[in-house]
């Protein structure tokens, strides 16, 4: 197996995928670079929507060019996610940002919301690009390169809405059975997912709350410094010291603002992405269970001679392969996902700690230099008083 070639015929055996994982994070092997930027508002007679510019740079042979620029809207991202889930039901597809703001907004398109969404969409596409299997998905390539009309016509192909609805109904029906016969390792996985989901949701709430409290602290602190300036207007002997205190408080205020934005950049989006991931994971478990349920129902049919006994063994054979593939794909992707999760969480919290350290260091320097200047002043005055 030549590890350094990136042929479009990606082998799907777990072994090669694991080997792929080892080289994944080395920068010189990355050959697909995607950015999402420039949100633009479009107004038609029917609706208003936002498109985002997507720039792709690549050295891969299967791409017609080395650079692409397209515009996509949220609906298009949803379509892509759906196609990926369809093609790889037991792979952990990266989550999309929510359709609507959680707390319910008056204005659908306020700037913060758009920016948060843009960053999340950027993350989404890059995660797909970094995934050893998903990166070679055909729909992904079309998403990145096709012009608007090409994408529309491509979207119209493939299973329609009704058949997808039918799939969902079957999935719900058979998912119950799948849970009963779930292998041990997937039981463990499911337990982990449930607990993880609880914890990450709590951490998400706590982190959002911290941001809110820091913002409110900042708002009050902004008022605090100027009062000292006001005071200095009526105190001729204390003018300097009061002004110095005011400027120290203002500097701490700026440091607080920086800490807040650091939290918003480094921690909140990461934690929130994993909240969405935990929902995604539960969906993956269900799909795996459903695939197994299909097999189980055929096996049951064979056992109780319910349907056509001749065709069943062949069908069962195919389904057994399908189950094995699905399980292996999930197992490998699960390991990869866990590793990434640990790294991402670790990095996010380390960054948060770093932001706090930096914040306190800045404030410390501010007050220490104030104290030094006061001490110097005092020494000056003392030496002046001496005969």
């Amino acid at each position: 197996m030549d590890m350094n070639s990136f042929s479009p015929m990606m082998p799907t055996s777990p072994l090669s995928m694991i080997n792929q994982i080892k080289f994944e994070d080395e920068p010189d092997l990355k050959d697909l670079f995607i950015t999402v930027d420039e949100p633009e508002s479009h107004v038609t007679t029917i609706e208003t929507f936002i498109t985002y510019r997507i720039i792709t740079k690549t050295s891969r042979g299967e791409f017609d060019s080395s650079e692409f620029e397209v515009r996509r809207r949220y609906q298009d991202f949803l379509w892509l996610k759906g196609k990926l889930e369809e093609a790889h039901p037991t792979l952990i597809i990266p989550p999309l940002p929510e359709k609507f703001m959680v707390k319910g907004m008056v204005e659908r398109f306020n700037d913060d919301f758009i920016e948060t969404r843009r960053k999340a969409l950027h993350k989404f596409l890059n995660r797909i690009a970094d995934h050893p299997t998903l990166t070679f998905n055909e729909d992904f390539k079309i998403f990145l390169t096709a012009q608007a009309w090409e994408l529309s016509s491509h979207k119209k192909q493939g299973p329609g809405l009704l058949s997808r609805m039918g799939q969902t109904v079957r999935a719900v029906a058979s998912s119950m059975r799948g849970v009963k016969n779930r292998p041990e390792e997937f039981m463990e996985m499911n337990n982990f997912i449930e607990l993880f989901s609880q914890k990450i949701n709590l951490i998400d709430k706590i982190s959002q709350r911290i941001y809110k409290e820091e913002r409110e602290y900042f708002d009050e602190l902004k008022e605090y410094g100027p009062i000292h300036i006001l005071w200095s207007a009526s105190e001729e002997d204390l003018v300097d010291i009061l002004k110095d205190v005011a400027s120290c408080i203002d500097r701490c205020c700026k440091a607080t603002e920086k800490r807040m934005s650091g939290l918003a950049e480094a921690l909140l989006p990461v934690v929130h992405e994993y909240v969405l991931y935990s929902e995604m994971l539960m969906g993956v478990m269900r799909r795996r269970d459903q695939i197994q349920a299909e097999l189980d129902s055929k096996v049951e049919a064979l056992t109780y001679k319910k349907a056509d006994a001749d065709l069943l063994p062949e069908e069962i054979g195919k389904l057994e392969d399908k189950v094995e593939c699905a399980n292996n794909a999930l197992k490998a992707d699960w390991e990869r996902w866990k590793q990434n999760m640990q790294n991402d969480i670790k990095l996010a919290f380390t960054d948060m700690a770093e932001e706090n350290i930096h914040y306190y260091e800045q404030c410390l320097a501010t007050w220490e230099s104030f104290l030094t200047s006061q001490t110097n002043l005092h020494l000056e005055e003392a030496s002046e008083d001496k005969p």
Binding site: L195, E213, I227, A353, E361, Q374
Partner: protein, 375 residues
């Protein structure tokens, strides 16, 4: 029905010069109302002195609903410090420290209240001083006192504002720190399911708990700073009291001078027979007949006596007024120096507190960062 109140133990030590050791000379208990009595007495007998204020009776500018309770041990402790400070200020004042009643406050256990009331100071007290809303139309106030009154108004307004905002800032800071404590619990629960990250999460959670609980001490320290500012908030009131006394004296002086002037005029008119000003007596005499020369002489004599008396009084009032201004201004200068020193010290101690808080923060987050990076 029993009343619960807090009493404070006052121990006086005198320093023996021979060996520098302080000897406990007196020890007794006083409650807040006795401190108030002492201060009211001093206000009456030393109207030209900026009398040190008492700490607040009820907790104000609270940043957390809990500390509004008068029986709260933290509040009681802070009040104790305030009362001690009050006595120390009097003891270090060149004039007040010599007062007999103050000395007895520190030494006479029983009957001190009676002793104070026997001085009859409440009768001496000018009720007009307490009437805060009354204004006196003073024609020639000493400009320095007018300025001082404006200054004390500004001081009161700005310190109140500062204390209010400080309380709000403290409230918010409390919120920030405490929410981090929630991480501790969740990390601990999460660590149970994580094999590799478990230890890191657990110990990081512990540091988050430490961080969250550190705010209590930090804000308690800041409360002492707030108390230092509050003292000067209340000092503004004491300054205003001195200004008011001056206003009253000046007002009485002007009224007396006016009175004297009108009597002199009356006298002159009677003597010369010309009536330049309208007077009811003049009208009635015109209507009902002139008075006899004897009657007129008698009246002039009375007026001359009154004028004499009035002139003496005016002289002594003028003297009193000038003495008051001189002494008051001397104490105000002393007060200004004290205020500048104290406020500078308070602001510096605020900086020291901030530095300590930052150092604690750096330590906790450095520890937490280490735990996170080991995950």
């Amino acid at each position: 029905m029993q009343e619960t109140y807090t009493a404070y133990l006052i121990e006086t030590r005198s320093v023996e010069h021979t060996d520098g050791q302080s000897v406990l000379t007196d020890s007794l208990w006083r409650r807040y109302s006795e401190f108030e009595l002492l201060r009211n007495y001093l206000l009456v007998y030393y109207p030209h002195i900026v009398v040190p204020p008492l700490p607040e009776k009820r907790a104000e500018f609270v940043w957390h609903k809990l500390s509004a309770d008068n029986m709260d041990p933290d509040f009681v402790e802070r009040r104790r410090i305030g009362l001690e400070n009050f006595l120390l200020r009097i003891a270090s004042h060149p004039i007040l420290c010599r007062d007999k009643i103050f000395y007895l406050f520190l030494t006479q256990e029983g009957n001190w209240k009676e002793t104070v009331n026997e001085t009859g100071f409440q009768l001496k007290a000018d009720s007009r001083l307490k009437a805060l809303n009354a204004t006196f139309r003073v024609k020639n106030p000493d400009k320095r006192f007018t300025d001082l009154k404006h200054y004390s108004d500004e001081l009161q307004s700005v310190i109140s504002h500062l204390l209010r905002v400080r309380a709000r800032v403290a409230d918010r800071l409390y919120g920030v720190y405490k929410v981090h404590g929630n991480y501790g619990r969740v990390f601990s629960e999460w660590s149970a399911i994580e094999k590799e990250m478990g230890d890191g999460l657990q110990s990081a959670g512990h540091h988050m708990d430490v961080y969250a609980s550190s705010i209590d001490d930090i804000l308690e320290d800041e409360e002492h700073y707030a108390d230092q500012l509050k003292e000067y908030l209340f000092y503004a009131e004491a300054l205003r009291a001195v200004c008011r006394k001056h206003e009253l004296m000046q007002y009485d002086l002007e009224i007396a001078a006016q009175d004297l002037a009108s009597k002199k005029q009356q006298c002159e008119e009677l003597a010369t027979g010309t009536v330049r000003t309208f007077s009811l007596k003049g009208m009635t005499t015109k209507l009902f007949g002139q008075e006899t020369p004897e009657q007129r002489e008698a009246r002039i004599k009375v007026l001359e006596e009154q004028i004499n008396e009035g002139e003496q009084q005016l002289k002594s009032k003028n003297l009193e007024g000038r003495e008051f201004v001189k002494n008051a201004w001397a104490d105000i200068e002393r007060f200004k120096e004290q205020k500048n020193r104290d406020l500078k010290e308070a602001l510096i101690s605020y900086a020291v507190m901030q530095i300590s808080m930052c150092k604690k923060g750096i330590q906790v987050w450095t520890n937490a960062k280490e735990c996170f990076s080991k995950m």
